[in-house]
Amino acid sequence: MSTPLLPGVNLTCLPSNAKRSRLSLSLLRPLSRGEASLSAALPHVLCRGTASRPDMTALSARLDELYGAQLEPAVRKKGEVQCVGLLADFVDGAFLPGGPDQLAAAAALLGEALLAPAGGGDGFVPAYVVTERDNLADRIAAAKNDPRAYAEQRLLALMCAGEAYGTDRLGNETSARAVTPDALWAHYRHVLASSRIEAVYVGPRGPEAVTARLREALSGLPRTAPFDDVGTAVRSSAGAIRRFAESMAVSQGKLVLGMRLGVSTPHQDYPAALLAAELFGGGASSKLFSHVRERLRLCYYASAWLEGHKGLLLVSSGVDEGNRRDAEAEILAQWDALGQGDFTETELTAARLSLTDMLRATADRPHRLEDYYLGLSAAGLSFPPDELAERLGSVAPERVAETARGGVWDGVYFLGGEREATL
């Protein structure tokens, strides 16, 4: 399923019968404050134009010819790995009149976008860099337009301030504003040669066809081994709970909690941690939904999920300022109850079925499957979602409780109408 394509370039080929095919190229970078914004700006500039299609109009015309294929910049954070690259989404020729080789055309376009940007070969078009730099800074500033997601992002930044993970996938506004055409070009030449690259294809074509087309498309790729190491440091300890509060003019407060669970994807207890998070705050049968929202009416929403790359458990909720303390106390109490094994066989089965269903359905969705495998690649892993679904089936209830007991709450963040005098 996963094979070396070129030095430091790995290809994962996944069969799919969907009409939509997906092909991605991602440079894996160690997430760092110093280069996050440069890396984030890069694919946006690459998508502005290529040597043979030097502007958006020409590039879009080509994509339209390919039956509305999409070429999109992608900046993803998988733990402490920043995955920077390009995504192509297209209808396979098998579903189109005349059966054109859409894979070859998409691979060629991806290759050209990555290796031969517009600008003549010795630099980017400066105007493209300036626009994309400004857009990047605007996008970072726009995070607060979605208060719920903003609160979650702020908790992670504050709680993990001393770790690589505390850096946002786009960097910050200051580092974004500092991007210049020269600095970006130098960064581009460096990361192109020294980064591990993951290629993922999801579609009906076999590995031979994909390998041949990608080898051709990437034939000009410079490679300088050894490639930059990537990985994620997982912490399982914390001191006393740190509390953070910030103000924003919102009518409903946002309360976010973060825990060091210490169990990440490679860990043997990863399936147990997934089950614990689902039981705690997955759906309508979860502890948070049935107790904090329904029974005590302390919040409008409350959900929890596992950040498997970093081994964190996160809780996000919308609460009235007046209910903030009670909601937090109840959330902590519900987690403690979970650690004491206070859940029924029915609840555990529901959690298991919900996760299994979701994992099995990953195969139906090329974009989900691509993202799933890219996430594993960032941790040096590769196993199908069905295998993880099977592992979920054999987790004993005691193991779930024990895994829950191993977690330590680290940060609590509140975003409310007025900054509180005491934190």
Binding site: R20, S60, D134, K144, N145, Y300, G318, A350, D364, P366
Partner: protein
């Protein structure tokens, strides 16, 4: 049971549509997807937030804004005190519901036990159970939801646009209503609305996935026949004229950049293929005007007037429709002026036939990709069934569109008097 299905094969799309009507009068559509692991079912009601004034028994009555959405929330309550959502989850299915201006829809997706979940879907939607206590409890929960939406600038910019486009249409009011309007709701209102609208002939069931059409027919066919009734008359405000009610509306919020929504009032398409044709044509016309391959996009993007979040499309409401552009911009009024100018230019000079041919090709590809997702497909089929056309007809309708059709749409619709601009500005 297959005999009761009317089967249409769409060879060029590689899709089939099984259509039937159960003894109780419920239209059923199955769109098979062999090999897909998760199947979706959607039970839709032609009743949305805009249906606040209607005549169930000949006499007009008015219900509070937000009733349809409130009813959607409460319908999950079962007479035995349980919540239907929980039962789906215990079977591993994901279930949800959504209320729009015209339609309320309940749906689930499941990789296992499809039949059991389908029975459950039909059972809870047709089993109203409302009490004064449960209504009172929900008023608090919905009040929270209304407040959460009030904090969402994207929601605000869109709702404000509707208020600027229309003087009387009930879509002017938020789908969830206001805290005051939902406070006026009683459990009896919910029963009355359920009886008026949740009738099989005012609904449809759409299923897509690796599911046997016979199984769907068997389960849906178990519901007892119901006497035919004519649907209640509805009043959507009889909007005066074709112009936008206001030119511009603005609100201040804690946002980083101004958000804008620009709408242009269209005459609503007639029921039947015209509805689907309208949507395809509106998309193509807007692509030619301001899509990524259009000259205007390069200018707007290059000058920093829009970013990659800029999007466009059309919206259909009961007895109303409008074209829509959404985005972030430091100068929304300038974007509006450039859109008007480009629409006038295209009307005058025509749309480049080569560009239009490419856009049609791209539209076909995009619609084809959309067929992969069973839930989206169910949504599309339900929405167009209520407009009396099958969604899979899109390929033939798309093929017949010309640059002149698109240029005429822009000339007639994207004009100053029909346009309203809504902006949410940083405080």
């Amino acid at each position: 049971m297959n005999a009761s299905y009317n089967i249409k094969a769409y060879e060029t799309l590689g899709e089939k549509l099984y259509a039937a009507r159960t003894p109780c009068g419920l239209p059923v559509f199955v769109m098979p997807k062999p090999g897909l692991r998760r199947a979706a079912a959607l039970l839709a009601v032609r009743y949305g937030s805009a249906d606040t004034r209607f005549a169930p028994d000949g006499a007009w009555r008015e219900t509070p804004a937000g009733t349809a959405h409130f009813l959607e929330h409460k319908l999950f309550d079962m007479p035995d005190g349980t919540n239907a959502m929980r039962a789906f989850e215990e079977d591993g299915a994901s279930v949800n519901a959504a209320t729009g201006h015209a339609v309320t829809a309940y749906h689930f997706s499941a990789a296992e036990r499809f039949g059991e979940n389908l029975e459950r879907l039909l059972s809870f939607v047709f089993t109203p159970w409302f009490t004064p206590e449960s209504v009172q409890k929900e008023q608090g929960i919905i009040g929270q939801e209304i407040r959460m939406m009030a904090d969402d600038p994207h929601n605000r910019v869109f709702e404000n646009l509707l208020g600027a486009l229309y003087a009387r249409h009930p879509a002017r009011r938020s789908i969830a209503g206001s805290e005051a309007s939902v406070a006026a709701l009683t459990h009896q209102t919910l029963y009355d609305c359920h009886r008026a609208f949740y009738r099989p002939d005012n609904m449809c069931l759409c299923v897509s996935g690796d599911v046997s059409p016979d199984l769907v027919a068997d389960i849906a066919g178990r519901r007892p026949p119901q006497p035919a009734q004519s649907p209640p008359a509805r009043d959507y405000g009889d909007e005066p004229g074709d112009n936008a009610a206001r030119d511009e509306v603005s609100e201040t919020m804690d946002v980083s950049l101004p958000l804008f929504a620009l709408g242009a009032v269209c005459p609503p398409p007639s029921p039947g293929p015209d509805t689907l044709r309208f949507e395809l044509l509106a998309d193509l016309a807007l692509e030619a005007l301001t899509g990524r391959a259009a000259p205007l996009y390069a200018r707007l993007y290059g000058e920093g007037l829009i970013n990659r979040d800029f999007s466009w499309g059309c919206c259909r409401l009961p007895e109303a429709a409008f074209l829509l552009c959404l985005g972030e911009s430091r100068e929304p009024a300038r974007v509006r002026a450039l859109l008007w100018a480009e629409a006038a230019r295209l009307a005058r000079e025509g749309i480049d036939p080569a560009l239009f041919a490419r856009l049609k090709r791209a539209a076909l590809g995009e619609r084809l990709r959309g067929l992969d997702d069973p839930l989206s497909l169910c949504r599309a089929q339900a929405a167009f069934h209520f407009a009396d056309v099958d969604y899979f007809e899109f390929a033939a309708l798309l093929d017949a569109l010309t640059p002149d059709h698109a240029a005429a749409l822009l000339e007639n619709i994207l004009t100053p008097t029909r346009t309203a601009l809504s902006v949410v500005r940083p405080g």
